[in-house]
């Protein structure tokens, strides 16, 4: 056979690269129930679609070359559901997937191709941080900072990160630049490892406490989706991308409308309590409106008095923001403000129309909120809402009180406002307002109190708002799905092929 030696050498080198950090390390991972980097890519990408970039890259230090296949970060291009993507998967079995001169070149290249050719970028995180001794001394500094745009985000294409193990260094930074972060339970994300942190502050530190899923899903809000297994995390990555366009210059893909998609709408009145005092889980109402099984909630454990999620309505990808009275009665706290602002940026940057479902008694006022800078968060949100160039449709289900009326799309802060007949518009809950405005409590003077409550409750109905043409429609709640489908269709950005102006493309990636 001609070229026999060359072909044999190629096969030897390829097989060596595919062995990653060697059979022992791979076996230990398998025993622990974790997929390795190549298994993750197999699950993520359409079969046979990976075109690897840098399979034969290796550490720059000669003594490490033989034991650094792909230099610890497997990169390339492939397809998900037939759509092209770019991907970097950290291979923890190769020097802990530590960041090095060569593998940073790989990331930079794949990222640049994704950005300039319009491909989503997926980062499968699991890395120990900087490679030592490469980063020591002035020479170590000199390898850093050679790409001034390394940490720049302009949202030309969607980025998704999955945190699938210990994530320190690059996996953390890329997650924090991403549009969606999925975390597998048991993974950790932090600036530095528990060992380094523990030495720095001279205290023992538990990895879960330092950067576990509860911290990031409930307190920091840096994680959007939590998954129990690697497999579920990768499925969530694919699901997120299914709602988005490949890049900011095209509208999101349309999906087929499932059969019986209209059926749940008829039951919507059973989901809304008749009593004004009773609360409910707005997610049940959202699910009854959107295409069946299409709601994909983001940050469900963070700022829970508001819900944010991607969904489909009549096959069209949309973003939904809804107050959730089940938590804090729907009163909007600082975390909910942060969550909604980041969601507005996401939707507008990738050409998703926004539906806003309103039932809120106002911002949650109090010392805690003020300490967290509530006024700044409220105005960030208003600024974002004013910069949205995709269609915004607001539906007022029940209450919309106070300044938050504007944040939730009141007036010209949305393109269309519709009310359910149960809508209630005012400056605050009348029973509280009487005390605030007139200093009258029910126990002091029941008769006068009731008269004043009636006075404050006057002209707060859906009809009153519609007469002023501040609500363009009053709809039967059971018609909400049909109303939204028609209104979203009216508001398609025909003049630009469904593409918005992306005025917040360079906004922060966390708030």
């Amino acid at each position: 056979m001609p070229f026999e030696d060359i072909v044999a050498e190629f096969a030897r080198r390829r097989d060596k690269a595919l062995e990653m950090g060697g059979p022992d390390k791979l076996a230990r991972r398998r025993a622990a129930g974790h997929l390795n980097a190549r298994e993750r890519l197999d699950l993520l990408l359409d079969p046979g679609s990976l075109a690897e970039s840098g399979m034969f890259a290796a550490a720059i230090r000669p003594e490490q070359r033989e034991r650094t296949p792909a230099d610890g970060k497997i990169a390339g291009f492939g397809r998900i559901d037939g759509r092209a993507v770019a991907v970097v998967a950290n291979d923890f079995t190769v020097l802990g997937a530590s960041s090095s001169v060569i593998n940073m070149k790989k990331i930079r290249h794949v990222k640049e191709v994704a950005e300039t050719r319009g491909l989503p970028l997926i980062l499968l995180g699991e890395s120990s941080g900087a490679r030592m001794p490469d980063r020591m001394g002035a020479a170590g500094r000199a390898m850093l900072g050679q790409d001034p745009a390394e940490y720049r985000r302009l949202r030309r294409t969607p980025w998704v990160s999955a945190l699938l193990g210990p994530c320190y260094g690059s996996s953390t930074w890329y997650a924090c630049m991403s549009d969606c972060v999925v975390m597998r339970k048991g993974a950790t994300m932090a600036v530095a490892s528990p060992r380094v942190t523990s030495l720095a502050i001279n205290q023992p530190i538990e990895p879960e406490e330092l950067g576990g899923w509860r911290l990031h899903a409930e307190t920091t809000g840096l994680v959007d989706v939590v998954a129990d297994t690697d497999e579920a995390a990768l499925a969530a990555v694919k699901r997120f991308l299914s709602y988005l366009p490949s890049h900011h210059g095209e509208p999101p893909p349309m999906a087929p409308v499932p059969p019986e998609a209209d059926a749940a709408s008829a039951r919507i009145l059973d989901l809304l309590p008749e009593s004004r005092k009773a609360v409910y889980d707005v997610r049940r109402i959202v699910r009854a409106i959107v295409d069946p099984e299409s709601l994909f909630e983001l940050k469900p454990r963070f700022g829970r008095s508001a819900m944010t999620g991607l969904a489909r309505l009549a096959g069209r990808s949309i973003g939904i923001i809804a107050n959730n009275p089940l938590y804090k009665g729907g009163a909007i706290d600082v975390d909910a403000c942060r969550k909604i602002t980041s969601f507005l940026v996401l939707c507008d940057s990738f050409n998703l129309p926004i539906v806003i479902l309103v039932d809120q008694p106002g911002f949650l006022i109090g010392l805690e909120g003020e300490k967290q800078g509530a006024p700044g968060r409220i105005i960030n949100w208003m600024n974002a809402l004013s910069l949205v160039t995709m269609p915004r449709i607001a539906i007022i289900l029940r209450k919309s009180y106070g300044q938050a009326y504007l944040n939730m799309g009141g007036g010209r802060n949305s393109d269309e406002v519709a009310c359910w007949p149960s809508a209630d518009l005012g400056f605050m809950e009348p029973a509280v307002g009487v005390n605030v405005l007139y200093g009258v409590r029910e126990e002091d003077d029941p008769e006068r109190y009731q008269a004043l409550v009636a006075e404050l409750s006057r002209d707060t109905s859906a009809w009153a708002l519609a007469e002023l043409y501040e609500a363009q429609a009053v709809i039967d709640p059971r018609d909400t799905r049909a109303f939204l489908a028609a209104t979203l269709d009216t508001h398609v950005l025909r003049l630009t092929g469904g593409v918005g102006q992306h005025l917040m493309a360079n906004w922060p990636t966390s708030y």
């Binding site: 009275p325 804090k328 009665g329 008694p361 106002g362 949650l364 109090g366 509280v432």
Partner: protein
């Protein structure tokens, strides 16, 4: 087994206690119903567990961050 301190997320008053000591509860079971902003707002179990201690009584005022129930 670890104890789970269930804190009120809002200020208000305790309207109704829905569980008793020893009850086994699932995640999202209403433990206590609070009244705040003229609404009846449930305090939900953050994860499954057994009610070990109830620190509030019906009618009590409750502050944001105050522990109402301890599960284990």
């Amino acid at each position: 087994m670890a104890e789970i301190r269930v804190k009120s997320e809002i200020s208000g008053s305790v309207w109704k206690i829905e569980v008793k000591i020893g009850d086994r509860v699932d995640e999202d079971t209403p433990l206590v119903i609070l009244e705040s902003m003229k609404m009846e707002i449930p305090l939900l179990a953050p994860e499954a567990g057994v009610v070990r201690e109830i620190r509030v009584r019906e009618g009590d005022p409750i502050a944001e961050g105050e522990i109402a129930v301890i599960l284990e």
